[in-house]
């Protein structure tokens, strides 16, 4: 479980996050949603330590992350897997080398064991026989899958996904959502997904935190979100015609 307590963050004089607290449970897909510019990605970066919050703390299974010394922070980070918005695959490495990279850097496994794990992860994300392709040869959806494979290869306890289906067609986006849900349940990870995609919210939102202007104004699940009376959330959820019709 990941707990956040009173996280605040400002850039110069602009306050981006206002005292956000919440609990993200293990084995669940936890979503942070909100319109563009509401601080979702900043919150995610504070969670994984790419940004330091001005105030507040982050606890990974009770272990303080933000106030810890560098060795503890490094230890926790090595239990984190993250899928970036643009996949962030290393251009100079092929698919196999990209996925194997965390194993090369952080484990003492033999080369055969590493390759076995890489193939297992590729199999889990539904990709086969692309080990030697370069990232530039992959489609957007394939890159995301390889990114997920790299995120889980080191038996990560915590999986973070930043806009996992941005730039993907609806069908591929749903497949990626299903994959994240399936892996979360299968691997029992604490998964946090930052998104503004309503399909994801409906499909995989087991816990949802809604941010508006840097403040948490609602939390619940994908069933409760459709019955909410909060104006800002309603404006966000029912912003398109299809959702209005469903309502």
């Amino acid at each position: 479980m990941i707990e956040i307590e009173n996280i605040s963050k400002s850039f110069q004089d602009k306050k981006v996050l206002h005292s956000i607290s919440g609990k993200f449970e293990k084995g669940k897909t936890n979503l942070i949603i909100g319109a563009s510019g509401t601080g979702k990605s900043v919150l995610l970066k504070c969670l994984v330590g790419l940004l330091n919050p001005d105030k507040g703390s982050v606890l990974f299974d009770g272990r303080p992350f933000t106030e810890s010394d560098k060795s503890t922070t490094t230890q926790i980070r090595r239990e984190i897997g993250m899928l970036f918005q643009g996949s962030a695959l290393f251009d100079s490495k092929n698919v196999e080398e990209n996925i194997k990279f965390p194993l090369d850097m952080l484990t003492e496994l033999t080369e055969n064991e590493k390759i076995e794990k890489v193939n297992h992860c590729l199999n889990l994300v539904g990709l086969d026989k692309i080990n030697f392709k370069m990232p530039s040869e992959l489609s957007g959806g394939m890159k995301k899958r390889v990114g997920i494979a790299r995120a889980i290869v080191n038996d990560s306890k915590y999986l973070f996904c930043d806009e996992p289906n941005s730039g993907l067609d609806p069908l591929t986006a749903i497949k990626i959502d299903d994959l994240i849900l399936e892996l979360t349940q299968k691997l029992d990870t604490t998964t946090i997904v930052v998104t503004h995609d309503m399909n994801s919210v409906i499909e995989i939102g087991e816990y949802i935190m809604f941010l508006h202007n840097g403040k948490k104004i609602w939390e619940g699940n994908n069933k409760e979100i459709l019955k909410t009376k909060i104006k800002e959330l309603n404006d966000f959820v029912f912003s398109n015609k299809l959702m209005k019709k469903i309502r």
Binding site: V48, G49, L50, K70, T73, T74, Q75, I76, R77, R78, I80, M82, F84, Q85, G86, A88, L89, F90, D91, F101, P102, D104, M105, L106, N154, F160
Partner: protein, 242 residues
């Protein structure tokens, strides 16, 4: 001053939370090929012509009835060792390798590849930059030695082919009143310049923010700042060591 402080902190961060030695050895070998071997062609071309032009211009400006011909190769030798090979090649090095380093790291920054390393618990600056600096320190002095050799050879060829000096005179001039200290001086300069180019270019690339436009700016800044730092260091080293 703020940027200089940031640069010093960046250099300190290279030595924190280091990875396994084997990782650095492999990366340094790869970087040495990119930085050293791949620069060989441009360094050779520049050096040969640098020596040739120095010979012709010295002959044109200096030699008269009272000044012997061997002075030409003496000038070529000292200019090559003291200034042309370490400094001019360092500027060429900044243009080729420095812009490449800044572009590579800048692209990695804006495509979140550096963030990906950090999230994995890897010290990205140490992992990405330290091998580049070590490779530059290993390869640049070798490039300077090759450059000096080729410049003197270029001078010989141009001098003999244009009949401004005979081969014997050229060799005599090369040996005449040779000060052996010029070689360690050139080597000290080459180590300092290699460090300047690799570290400043890495710093510019590593702290890129924005998009493609900013990557381009980082590359330009890397070359400009490296060149200025090379010239300042050149003056300081000459003042201290000569």
């Amino acid at each position: 001053m703020k940027n200089f402080g940031k640069y010093i902190l960046f250099l300190v961060s290279l030595l924190e939370r280091r990875e396994k030695l084997k990782t650095y050895i492999n990366l340094t070998i790869n970087e040495s090929i990119k930085i050293g071997y791949d620069s060989l062609f441009i360094v050779s071309i520049v050096s040969i012509f640098m020596g040739a032009v120095t010979t012709i211009q010295t002959a044109f400006n200096l030699v008269g009835p009272l000044i012997p011909n061997y002075v030409i190769s003496l000038v070529v030798r000292d200019m090559t060792l003291l200034e042309l090979s370490p400094t001019i090649i360092a500027i060429v090095f900044a243009g080729k390798v420095g812009s490449n380093i800044a572009g590579e790291l800048g692209t990695m920054r804006i495509t979140e590849q550096i963030d990906a390393l950090e999230v994995m618990g890897i010290n990205s600056s140490s992992y990405l930059v330290l091998p580049k600096i070590i490779a530059a320190l290993l390869m640049f002095p070798i490039l300077v030695i090759i450059s000096a050799t080729l410049a003197i050879f270029g001078g010989y060829t141009a001098g003999v082919l244009t009949d401004v000096i005979t081969g014997q005179e050229y060799i005599y001039g090369l040996r005449y009143e040779f000060n052996p200290f010029n070689i360690p001086f050139a080597m000290v300069k080459s180590y300092v310049f290699a460090f300047i180019v690799a570290s400043i270019s890495s710093f510019q690339g590593y702290y890129t923010s924005g998009g493609a436009l900013e990557v381009g700016k980082s590359s330009t800044n890397a070359v400009t700042n490296s060149c200025i730092a090379i010239l300042v260091a050149d003056y300081v080293l000459a003042q201290i060591l000569l």
